[in-house]
Symmetry: C2
Amino acid sequence: MNNLITYFNKYNTLSEEANKAISEICKPVIIKKNQDLQSIGHTCRTIYFIKKGVARIYYYKDEIEITECFAFENAIIARVESLFTGKPSRKAIQMIEDSELIGINSPKLFELYDKFPEIERLFRKIFEAAYVDTVNRVESIQFHSAEERYNALLKESPNVLQRVPLKYIASYLGITQVSLSRIRGIR
Amino acid sequence: MNNLITYFNKYNTLSEEANKAISEICKPVIIKKNQDLQSIGHTCRTIYFIKKGVARIYYYKDEIEITECFAFENAIIARVESLFTGKPSRKAIQMIEDSELIGINSPKLFELYDKFPEIERLFRKIFEAAYVDTVNRVESIQFHSAEERYNALLKESPNVLQRVPLKYIASYLGITQVSLSRIRGIR
DNA sequence: AGCAAAATTTATCATAAGATAAATAATCAG
DNA sequence: CTGATTATTTATCTTATGATAAATTTTGCT
């Protein structure tokens, strides 16, 4: 739990009782490489904190698998379009390496919001920051070339190449594997 | 204020006192067509509710003006990447028609969060919904053709063509004016 | 109304990325 | 370790969109 509390402190430091209340709705998850942590068609009821490993959210468009995002250690991952709407998700979360996570039960978390406004505030801030990242991602996809996006990704996550297969990176960048290979080949 | 309270009720119904507290930090804004409501370089300190008119957020990339989004009546608009980070915004908000808005002072709003958890919850839910929209927009930009995006926009906002110049729509769709004209010409 | 400015369309040519196929390299299971 | 599978690269050809320029239409001003 320590890593998670450190992560929380970046957004909103919680009281003892609030930390304890959250710890009671958390459970550890160990999962093997390439396994789905959450599968397509199910409604999101768990927010995950990554202690170890790499995650990606993916979905299918016209039979083709698309990677929506990656998440590394000490980050949170959830399919927000399901978490916030209560609708089943068309997306899945897969762990790219053998991983250790902490799962936070989201219906129970939302109940805690009533008793602990500080917890509601914490998650408000966490998701506000994620929202800002997504707004920036729209800009990046819309007005940078594939090559610019590739270079920006490397700068932001220098170890992504070591940990994530190129085929996943390609669809994340919005291009085909073949185009990514071409871009990489230039240098 | 009535429209605004109706809008709030879709997310979280507030007590009398909470509504009153919000009304005290609101002020009406009347603004002419093509005027900037908020300008580039300033930090966002107001969240706007549109009573009448159409707004867009825009910014510059390489001297070229880009429209990030549109907002119509009975919606909220803010440059969230500044609102949530406190940093100056590279973006501006412009009203495309003669408009009437309600401006909500955001620093004062955030103070109200301490006294009224219900207000914090209201805005949490408003921005969660906006976040989900943005996640969906990433998908739309990344994996639909320009023509598909154009048709999707028309379906979503059928009156956008009547109210918004095509040059703004083009950059919103991530294409040039000329390409948009070509797409429209096909039918 | 009538002119000027701005918006939109049309045309032409250039280019980045897609589709497909095939070759090579890396990884994994037994 | 080795063969089989999967991932990546390379090659060729096609296509959607960009860049630029010019023509046309619409809008706004006085």
